[in-house]
Amino acid sequence: MSSPPQISVGSSSDSALPVVSRTDAFPVVLLVGNPNVGKTSLFNALAGMRAKVANYPGITVDLRKASLHVSAVDADSRCQATQTVELVDLPGLYSMQTASPEEDVAARSIRGELTGRLHEPPNAVVVVVDATNLSRTLVLASEILELNLPTIVAVNLIDSAEANGTQIDFDALRQKLDCPVIPVSARKGRGLAELREAIYELTQPEQKPLPISRGSCVAGCQGCPFSARFQWADDVTNQSVRQGTRGQVQLAWLDRWLTSPALGLFALLAVMLGVFFLIFSLAGLPMDVIESVFGMVGEWADQALPTDNSNAVLYYPLAIGGTLALFALAYWLNETKWNKWSASIAVAVALLVAVLPVDDFRSLVIDGVIGGTAGVVVFLPQICILFFVITLLEDSGYMARGAFVMERVMRRVGLPGKAFVPMLSAHACAIPGIMAARTIENWRDRLVTILVLPLLTCSARLPVYVMVTALLFGDDPMRASVLFAAAYLLGITAALSSAFLLKKTIVPGEAAPLVLELPNYRLPSLRNALLTTLDRAIVFLRQAGTIILLISVVLWGLATYPKMPESEMPADEMQQAAAQLEYSIAGRVGKVIEPVFAPLGFDWKIDVGIVTSFAAREVVVSTLSIVYGLGEEGAEDGGLIETLRRQTKPDGTPVFTTATSISLLVFFVLAMQCLPTQVVTKRETGSWKWAGFQFGFMTLLAYGGSLIAYQTLTAMGY
């Protein structure tokens, strides 16, 4: 039922893909290496801001690529010959025998088994090895060298090796490996010009290299080929490296602490509390700025947009041109190509927008487009801070220790220790959590982690928690905080028990037992963390931003149409919005599904909130504010809570009893209600099937949880 989605080589859908010839394109150079050798730092140092996430057909794994200018080093820059290559940063791998979907993509890229640009072996391979751990990292190099491709070995972290007194004889190493060997330091920018020159030399079309025929260290070997490779790497290292010992011993005590069961857990807890403190203390300001910028843009649009369309010469080009410009932006972000279909959709929508009544057009722009985009972009600061800190922790070597100490705890629910980091990230936002799940090698473990992550309390749930706790215990901070903590705990319990159950049923199998490299501690690079964060932010905006915009517009349509006839409109302005919402499709759906949610204690007005918060759960607060006749501004002050308390059913009893309020809280702890997360789940699992399953099981869980909560509390007289 569950299989990795990444590779579809040779499938019928691939046969339709055009095979791109390399002859008229830039040479492809692959950057290959073990995890933790600073490969991505080296890519960032070479590519800088030119890097972008590439979509290669047939795979959903992100591959970062950059057009790189390489040149022969010449004293006179006017004489320099240059060449542009496409540098691709492959996922880290330990061996060409692979153990994760990402490694599989890396190995197949090297062998030229993918489609599109990677359908044939690369023009050159740069194998990155670690100068401080040459014998281990040369093992992969031995496998790559045997493929007889034009290969360069880049010995990274040369500065760290020198700092601890290690001396490397590069001439000896070149001779042993039979390929160019370049010492580099990605962090200090050392050796990059030499590496570029070596790439230039290897990718010259007129200098066809002679057929390369390197000997295999496992040729004729009957024993374990891995053992033979390690032995070969040891021999090569012994003959070319004099190991230093400075700087290694001091951190052994730290590692003993950080990997010990009790102290290690305590340290992890402290680090994670620190991360959360950073997220919640630093993200507040940029989030406020984003909200006020979008607020200002909304106000500006309110002023600038025409209030009547009598000036047809100005109005229609504005409406059509604006819509087309928005489509162009979304297509560009989403890398959708303009063809007859995508162009027809854009033109049809632009024409439809132009014929909308002018008030609706204004509302569409201000509430649908600007409001919808703001709803997504507001989470960007939290996501960026989270990725920044986690990248620093990963680069420092600490994250592997965190996964190590959590292994024992997480195994009890059938997940590996590595699932801990995504679960923690999900407490800020499920999206970076799901992206962080890529570090989990085993596909089933990764899938279950992704499926249960959105049950953990993300920051978008906070407005709902605040509303319900204020409703119940507005004047009792003690009880309010207990309820708040209980909501968090419910999310954690639900996530862990769902993982346990999924591992017993739909995605069966124990967690892949731990065997994990604990990389040497080193000073992380701020530049690398910044570039990684930028990369993730773009992926987030591109993937979630475009689709959520579409859904925001659709939801706006559902809450706006059909329009209530003027004659039926109530005179009170406050009541008009509520009456219109009741008349709209969303309102009607709320009434139709009222019997479904009645056992949970919800009336049709709450149901409208559940419908409109389908794409973003926090929307329920502003929707409740509208349906109860306060207008959107009402959600911001205490007015909503008082109004909700005053609401009564036809029989005169209050709507928001303790039972209904708790039921609503339980529903929003457990329900999916977040479209960007669904989009990212689809992206990371490769199919809408798992996103749909996630939505289904979470909604059922939420319904069941709320039902039990409401019925139990009602029976107890609350």
């Binding site: 374990c224 053992s227 003993r256 065997v515 490299e517």
Partner: protein
């Protein structure tokens, strides 16, 4: 070359110290995951932290290893086989 007839045990129950890996009895993905990190026949490893998971030192690399996988790894005390790791000739004979 010395053979491995003396005191072979399983890594899962070992105390701290130097050992030589004699055999890895895992299959499929587990075998690849162990061997590609250097836990394979003939390699010397040091058990530096007991428990589940345990911590191994292999050359300059530190590896965290669950007891479940350590059960697949047969070891002999390194002294019985030292000096030097098993030569490649012995493995490839």
């Amino acid at each position: 070359m010395a053979s491995v007839q003396t005191s072979i045990s399983v890594l899962a129950g070992a105390r701290k110290g130097f050992y030589q890996c004699v055999d890895v009895d895992a299959s499929g993905q587990n075998a690849i995951r162990l061997k590609r990190l250097g836990i394979c026949a003939g390699r010397v490893l040091e058990l530096v932290g007991q428990g589940d998971p345990m911590v191994l030192q292999l050359g300059n690399s530190r590896i965290g290893l669950s007891r479940q996988l350590a059960n697949f790894v047969s070891i002999a005390p390194a002294e019985a086989l030292l000096p030097g790791p098993v030569a490649q000739d012995a493995l490839c004979s």
